[in-house]
Amino acid sequence: MSSERTWKTIESGPYDYHNALHPVVKKNYGKWKYHELPRPGVLKHIAESGDVLFTVRAGTPRQDSVDLIRRICDIADTYADGYLRFTVRNNVEFMTPDEEKVELLIEALEKIGLPVGGIGPCVSNIAHTQGWLHCDIPATDASGVVKSIMDNLFEEFKNWYLPSKVRISTSCCAINCGGQADIAIVVKHTRPPRINHEVIANICELPKVVARCPVAAIRPTVVNGKPSLLVDNKKCMYCGACFGACPVMEINHPEHSKFGIWVGGKNSNARSKPALGCLVAQNLPNNPPRWPEVNEVVGRILNAYKKEGQPWERLGEWIDRVGWKHFFAATDLVFEKDMIDSYRHARTTFNQSAHVRF
């Protein structure tokens, strides 16, 4: 194979962006003055030169076919001078200096099934992972969960119904590749790993697996004369860290791998500091193909926030103002014993004061 190669690899790093920039972008690079949001899904940027650039944003499934991408390119060629870009939340953006093209872009995008929205006080597209379609350690699917949720939140993506932006993420294991978000939907296992003692010593580096455990619950042992590992089930909190290092310590389970929902995560520094999400619902079933139980809880949280949040106030900032007690009442969710932190830094989450709401 290598002897037939005529091409010598160029370790070029990222693709050179210079030819990927729209001419109006190139001309006004670093010289933008301000922007407006003329309508949902549309941005208007005004440059110091007086040039104007409209952006139309649309949601995508993220798992795209070359057919869909070619259709997106057709639209970019017809209405956006052959340029486009993506956002970190899997939205696609088309830019044009021509205001008349905005309506045409929206029409063309909706015609190929891509909803326009995701800018301003609304739900943006979901940051998500790969799941059963392509990951080697998932307890659930990602794209399917996202599709189910966004079907329900379709109008929330396309319209400005919410106090501020809402970011949602999903993750198929406790590693949480989806990341921090206003609402994060993350798998939580509820049983210890199941070890295949027959093959583990041939497949896994046992000391590395021992070192991987956050609570030192794993130690070496011998089973049927073969080196293996022992999990102290009293210590194990089912995080699955060992499974990532050793595929024969199966943590995923069709029934016992559940969903938890975490709220109030925030990446931006605007107003409040960036924040981690907090657990408000757990033990929701992993129920393909539509995950109705997860959808129901997400809807409840969004409805309460929609009703009570103030302009520009993110979900976590709303909770900071009204208090967690009120959050649980307003969403009809139940605060459970498991929601008290018991890991490192747990005491920083205790209420070490006489401040109480009645």
Binding site: S2, A20, S65, L84, H134, A174, S272, W312
Partner: protein
């Protein structure tokens, strides 16, 4: 209620009845319903058009995953010549059941900074990918790669050679420098305090070798956000978060400000801007907004609301926050402010930034355990020890407050 609609303009062939290329997938078919664009419709259309057995196998296996609530891929080792990362190996654990899906490897490809594309480069990439692989692409993975999903090991090298000739390179995987992400930056944002695209491009070119040949304790990610709005989620998602920063006063166009107040009213100004300022540094003087810039923490809120009259100051650069990561192993951590202001205007500034980054990465690789991110190493070893190790002075900007417990070894 839920509306039933296919997500694409062209008619897709029916897949559930006999005589078509695909096998029945009743559970996946449920995901063809509803208004949001359906990845199942997309994959089926692609499979019916290209008749690639690999796609049929993947749909069959995915349907089986939905039925059994279990994943069936296992990782392994597949690489391009000279590289130790960039290809994610996926083999089916149940290839006896679904032989058409026995191999479905992924190429991670580094996109252009800011995720900017022209249609020629994207169409060429699609053509190459359809020729060698499945035609399924994720735009983009959570770290920021273009993910070309579904190729057989025997075709990996020829596919990579072809895309490499077109200007693309593979991304990172394993204990290596990872692909980076930058926000839209000065290309289309007035908030950008440094050139996120240029810095991303130069830094990742510099570290290209460390991307392709894993030699760290664990992964290391840069993310480049042009301002504290942090659109790339750098603080929680990257080991070294580069956040645009300004040092002087917020710039105010007083005429535009007056116009904004007239248009939106004083109530809106008070309730939505002044009352939401985290350090309460905005006041009204004769109907005009006045900012006490010495106590502004550069949160961006007032600038976000009043874009036409307010913008980051003119003395612009970046801040470096170190140690962000997600759950494994000690729990999610945000990056810690290490350098509050770093000038970023010249090539020398870029070189100095790269030198500082290398010093930090070297300290981490010298002091970390296996599979330990730099944030975890700093937490375990100590921020003070890290500063000594990399030769930085302590600054009050690095902490929320001085220590409140007395257990420490005094150096004086």
């Amino acid at each position: 209620m839920v509306q039933i609609k296919k997500n694409i303009g062209v008619e897709t062939k029916s897949t559930s009845c006999g005589g078509t290329f695909l096998h029945p997938t009743p559970m996946l078919d449920e995901l063809e319903k509803g208004p949001w664009p359906s990845f199942i419709v997309g994959i089926k259309e692609l499979a019916e058009r290209t008749r690639k057995p690999m796609l049929r196998g993947v749909l069959d296996q995915l349907e089986y995953s939905y039925q059994t609530k279990t994943g069936y891929w296992e990782g392994g080792l597949v690489t391009a010549y000279g590289y130790g990362s960039g290809v994610i190996s996926r083999r089916s654990k149940i290839a006896d059941k679904f032989p058409e899906a026995h191999e479905f490897h992924t190429l991670r490809v580094q996109p252009a900074p800011g995720l900017h594309y022209n249609t020629t480069m994207l169409r060429d990439l699609c053509d190459t990918w359809e020729k060698h692989g499945s035609g399924l692409i994720a735009l983009h993975g959570q770290t920021g790669d273009i993910m070309l999903q579904g190729i057989e090991e025997a075709k990996v090298q020829e596919c990579f050679d072809e895309i490499n000739q077109a200007g693309w390179d593979l991304g990172g995987a394993g204990p290596a420098m990872r692909t980076s992400v930058s926000c839209v930056g000065p290309a289309r944002c007035e908030h950008a305090c440094y050139d996120t695209l240029q810095l991303h491009y130069k830094v990742m070119q510099h570290f290209a070798g460390d991307v392709h040949r894993p030699q760290y304790s664990y992964k290391f990610k840069f993310k480049f956000s042009g301002c504290p709005n942090d659109c790339t989620n750098a603080i929680f998602r990257s080991d070294l978060a580069v956040i645009g920063m300004w040092r002087d006063a917020i710039a105010m166009d007083t005429e535009a400000m007056q116009g904004w107040i007239q248009k939106n009213g004083v109530d809106f100004l008070v309730n939505t801007v002044i009352n939401r300022c985290p350090t309460r540094v905005i006041s009204l003087a004769e109907g005009m907004m006045v900012i006490d810039n010495a106590n502004c923490v550069r949160c961006m809120h007032c600038i976000n609301v009043i874009t036409e009259a307010l913008s980051p100051g003119r003395e612009r650069g970046l801040a470096i926050l170190l140690g962000g990561k997600n759950t494994l192993k000690v729990g999610a951590m945000g990056g810690t402010m290490i350098v509050p202001f770093f000038k970023m205007e010249t090539d020398e500034d870029i070189a100095a930034f790269i030198r500082l980054s290398e010093t930090m990465i070297e300290w981490w690789n010298d002091n970390s355990f296996d599979h330990e991110r730099i944030g975890e190493t700093i937490e375990r070893v100590g921020l003070k020890q890290f500063l000594d190790g990399v030769g930085l002075d302590a600054s009050i900007d690095m902490v929320s407050r001085p220590r409140s417990n007395p257990y420490y070894k005094s150096e004086s």
